[in-house]
Symmetry: C2
Subunit: 348 residues, 2 copies
């Protein structure tokens, strides 16, 4: 009744997630000296002298980010922590604490929430992170989970999205696309299950993909490896929305273009097989699938020998003049411009 009557009404569907964040936060000016880095990277950075505190937060909504019909609550808890830790590793930081806020409807029981927390607790144990706070409340519908992760990084070790230079090498950890193919398998089995609840699915040939979807691991080991190899990446991001989208973020923040080689893209054989089965283009799964939680970073050419042939790292391209944009080079030498087809948040 007291609500303002705005004359302009811009539907959110007309904006992407990133345009919306820009629209809402572009006027913000930082006032505190300790606020080193604000909106626009994987995490915010707060200065404490020789150490810097890094903070990342994610909100996960039932029906938007997860489907409890195939995502066990324990896995959901584990994955929700991973999503946040991954953001901190993408700043080259070590996570130390998390807070967990929860809104739940009455259809959840205490035992269901204990399942969820057992996944959160396992993630905390495996990654040596403390759950130090949160908020628990009721919701009118479904489950919403908000996790904030806090970490530390020594001065000079912080890596943002904005330091890539022309000719730097573009490197990715692990392999890509499997979380997406895992999701396709789970969605298919859910549809089958709806038709025939007695059907016991044989998922044994899809184990890797399903695990990548249901129980991803944040790449703590890669941060430790970089430390061991004495590499400080010039820029870094984690792959949550999809390789294309993340490359475009690095490109925008660092003001460089990228050339990406299709034949270099690391992929598990299972991903190719599932893509064939579903008649997908596997490169599309790798570029736009998302939820891989691998680290994507740039390094100086002089560090090439340190990463060459490393089983956990693949050089997939390099930074170029920003005028050249971001291009995928396929096996025939053709260039295809990268577009962000990742998770389009407000498009149903």
């Amino acid at each position: 009744m007291f609500e303002d009557k705005n004359t302009t009404k811009t539907p959110l569907e007309s904006l992407g997630e990133f345009a919306l964040i820009d629209a809402l936060t572009h006027t913000i000016k930082l006032q505190n000296k300790s606020s080193l880095l604000g909106v626009g990277d994987d995490a915010a950075v707060i200065d404490h002298g020789s150490k810097q505190t890094v903070i990342s937060t994610d909100l996960l909504v039932e029906g938007v980010h997860f489907d409890l019909s195939y995502m066990p609550l324990k896995h959901l808890g584990y994955k929700a922590v991973m999503v946040n830790l991954s953001d901190l590793y993408a700043m080259n930081a070590i996570p130390t604490q998390i807070t967990v806020s929860l809104a739940v409807s009455n259809r959840f029981t205490l035992e269901a929430l204990e399942e969820l927390y057992s996944g959160i607790a396992l993630a905390c144990k495996n990654y040596k992170v403390d759950l130090v706070g949160g908020d628990t409340t009721s919701s009118t519908t479904g489950l919403t989970l908000s996790i904030t992760a806090v970490g530390m990084v020594s001065k000079g070790k912080l890596v943002t999205r904005s330091g890539a230079k022309e000719n730097d090498l573009l490197v990715v950890s692990g392999d890509l696309g499997a979380a997406y193919t895992g999701l396709q398998i789970l969605e298919r089995e859910k549809a089958v299950f709806k038709v025939n609840p007695n059907n016991q699915p044989d998922l044994s040939s899809y184990t890797y993909s399903i695990e990548r979807q249901l129980k991803p691991e944040a790449r703590k080991d890669i941060i430790e490896l970089l430390e061991e190899l004495k590499i400080v990446p010039t820029s870094m991001i984690d792959i949550s929305d999809g390789l294309s989208s993340e490359i475009l973020h690095l490109s925008k923040a660092s003001r460089v273009g990228f050339q990406l080689y299709e034949e270099k893209l690391p992929m598990d054989p299972e991903v190719s097989l599932i893509c064939e089965e579903f008649k997908f283009n596997s490169t599309t799964a790798v570029l736009n699938g998302g939820e891989d939680y691998e680290l994507l970073f740039t390094i100086s050419q002089k560090d090439f020998d340190k990463v060459k042939n490393h089983p956990l790292l693949t050089v997939i391209g390099h930074a170029v003049d920003p005028k050249a944009g971001c291009q995928l080079v396929n096996g025939l030498g053709h260039q295809i411009e990268l577009t962000a087809q990742g998770w389009q948040n407000f498009n149903p």
Copy 2:
């Protein structure tokens, strides 16, 4: 389909908010030396040597914590920040940064979210806090807002819920009950508006209460006053759920009882008038109304002269032997045991 079949099903309604948090977090052990204080106070505390970082988080759900039919979005943004800053002040900390996460359904427009953010930005400006990050996503229904606030406190200045000693004085800032009476007025006007949308409510005699409900202020000034008066409270909490509930928290954490004097309870005259109009007991509004965002703290008797007759502070009772429990003493000298009737989160 892969969900565990738990044999026990404990409905959440059978637990209070605090029992639920206990059930979910009692097994958690802190692993990092920097985790000074975990679940169970107004905020978590992380050690950084001479300074400590304090972190608080709150999740606000449309239809549970706010009603957009009388809460303008700008006010909601402002209040959501206040709720969190209030938690940090309750630790005697100075807020420095916040992150804001948002889940919104498609019924919200960009302009609506800009309204919300203008309230958040105003709160940041007034309290010298930086918005440094967050997450924006879609929801299947309504608006959910998760705010995390980060603050600093010097070593030795941190105040938790657990330091009150027998004979300490119990002090509250400002006055109590008005946020609750404001809510009653707004709910009544909403009901009237539903019947006759052309009715223009005359709310001029309820200004104070409505402002306390729609635009509360966190008590930054009290923290500055305590510094000026050279008082470090022995324990402190902010009043979000209601005075009774908060006294019981201090009692439990500090292992003391409290005697509270009904005639000392600070109340604006408007609160008494509205309570008469609605035929409420005004003491009940003060004890159980909640959302006052005043600070409730204990101080040593030796600090009494510093707070005596201060216009912003009222001594409302004192700490006693834990065996005596928490009692309200009324004008006739009768003792009534305090119970937490505050916001019963999972009871509709």
